[in-house]
């Protein structure tokens, strides 16, 4: 059992900033996220796109903002459970909550903050009849622990950043990559696309444009994928297929936690962004209230106020003092 002061569900920008604000109040945090890296949509959907409405930054790349937030949170040594989706919240007789993930990891804390954005990111799956038979048996929607695939022959589908970045990554690590895309236009960053074409020239990667994986073959494990291309059908013998068509957020289990849901978001009180369950807060894009704006900067404000209430819940007997970082700077945890 992981024990902490605040379990934060969602490691996006708002969850990360909550770690900083909680740290100032001497509260420790542990973050859970369904995707294997921190940053939420900023890392997953648009890491290389500029954002213009963060105070003090006329322009900042989404990925860069995540790096800065991680740096800002680092002195407070947050824990992370990444690549696991928060499934349930149970309340113990002592009033603490236990948050359990898809992999069964348990986290106990007196306060839960849901900073889940639009929900957990679920892979956008291709429509193939027997797809489910091969999930985790050769078909993977997320690359976790890339070392295990090094040197292997694989098929990667998709035209976005994750498809191109992983295709380049594995081709450079002596794997043989078949990269398959439905057209010859790529959503991915142009540098990654140029790199893929270069690797194709060097014979380290084979590029199939105007092509799609249409059939999967194999007994227990994936053995073969069948492509449909503009020149006809192409079979490729492989034990690995990564359909990387991006992820799309689904509210998922959050809807089953006994929280008041309005318009696909969690209703909160704007006094401290607490939900209808005392001790469970919802901050950032996942919440709703009259006048709600889904902006990162609004989420930062919500995180700050929520942490003040969390402090009072955790330390009911302590006199509350507001921390100004200008007086003593930031004192991290040992």
């Amino acid at each position: 059992m992981i024990k902490t002061d605040i379990v934060i569900i969602g490691a996006g920008p708002v969850g990360l900033f909550a770690v900083f604000e909680a740290g100032l109040m001497k509260l420790r945090c542990h973050l859970i996220d369904a995707i294997p890296q921190a940053g939420g949509q900023l890392s997953e959907i648009y890491p290389k796109k500029p954002i213009y409405d963060i105070p003090g930054y006329p322009t900042v790349l989404a990925g860069e903002l995540v790096d800065k937030l991680m740096e800002q949170a680092a002195p407070f040594k947050p824990g992370f459970t990444l690549g696991e989706r928060a499934e349930t919240i149970d309340e113990l007789p002592n009033g603490n909550f236990v948050v359990t993930t898809s992999q069964g990891t348990k986290h106990e804390a007196p306060v839960v903050m849901i900073a889940g954005g639009l929900g957990s990111f679920e892979p956008r799956k291709p429509i193939i009849e027997n797809l489910l038979d091969f999930e985790q048996k050769g078909v993977n929607y997320i690359v976790k622990d890339p070392d295990q695939y090094q040197g292997k022959e694989m098929v990667i589908s998709g035209g976005g950043d994750s498809a191109l970045d992983w295709a380049v990554y594995f081709a450079e690590k002596d794997s043989f990559v078949h990269l398959v895309h439905r057209s010859d236009r790529f959503r991915a960053h142009k540098d990654s696309v140029a790199k893929a074409y270069e690797l194709a020239k060097l014979g380290k990667l084979k590029l199939y444009t105007f092509a799609e994986v249409k059939q999967l073959k194999g007994k227990q494990q994936l053995e073969k994928v069948i492509l449909e291309t503009k020149d006809g059908t192409v079979p490729i013998e492989t034990e690995l297929w990564f359909p990387l068509f991006g992820l799309s957020p689904k509210l998922g289990p959050i809807a089953d936690w006994g929280l008041e849901i309005e318009k696909n978001a969690i209703a909160v009180d704007t006094f401290d962004y607490q939900t209808n369950r005392s001790g469970i807060f919802a901050i950032g894009d996942v919440n709703t209230y009259p006048g709600k704006l889904k902006l990162i900067l609004c989420g930062f404000h919500e995180a700050t106020l929520a942490v003040q209430s969390a402090y009072k819940r955790i330390n009911p007997d302590k006199k509350f003092t507001l921390k100004y970082t200008t007086v003593q700077g930031v004192q991290g945890f040992d």
Binding site: Q41, R187, F245
Partner: protein
Amino acid sequence: MSDINITVIDREGVSHKLIAPSDMNMNLMEVCKSYELPVEGICGGMAMCASCQVYVHTNNHFGERNDDEEAMLDDAYNVKPNSRLGCQISITTELEGAEFELAPEEP
């Protein structure tokens, strides 16, 4: 510049008459959201998701799909020849009288 009138048909087939300002640099996704139509706009209007996909029913001239939009639609579901991403359609006076239909939600 003035307000324009457009029609958006939601996923239940209900037609909504919307009035949108043509001088606020708005796009169709933002207008739909401000009228609380069920358009997510997950990526914030960067043509990086297809949650604001619409079908264009009228022949107004308001520009073609751009490269980012084409590339996104290549990876989207339920794409038709008249598919566009709402976030890439600017609200200008050329849209007066235009009609759009929200594409189904992604599976």
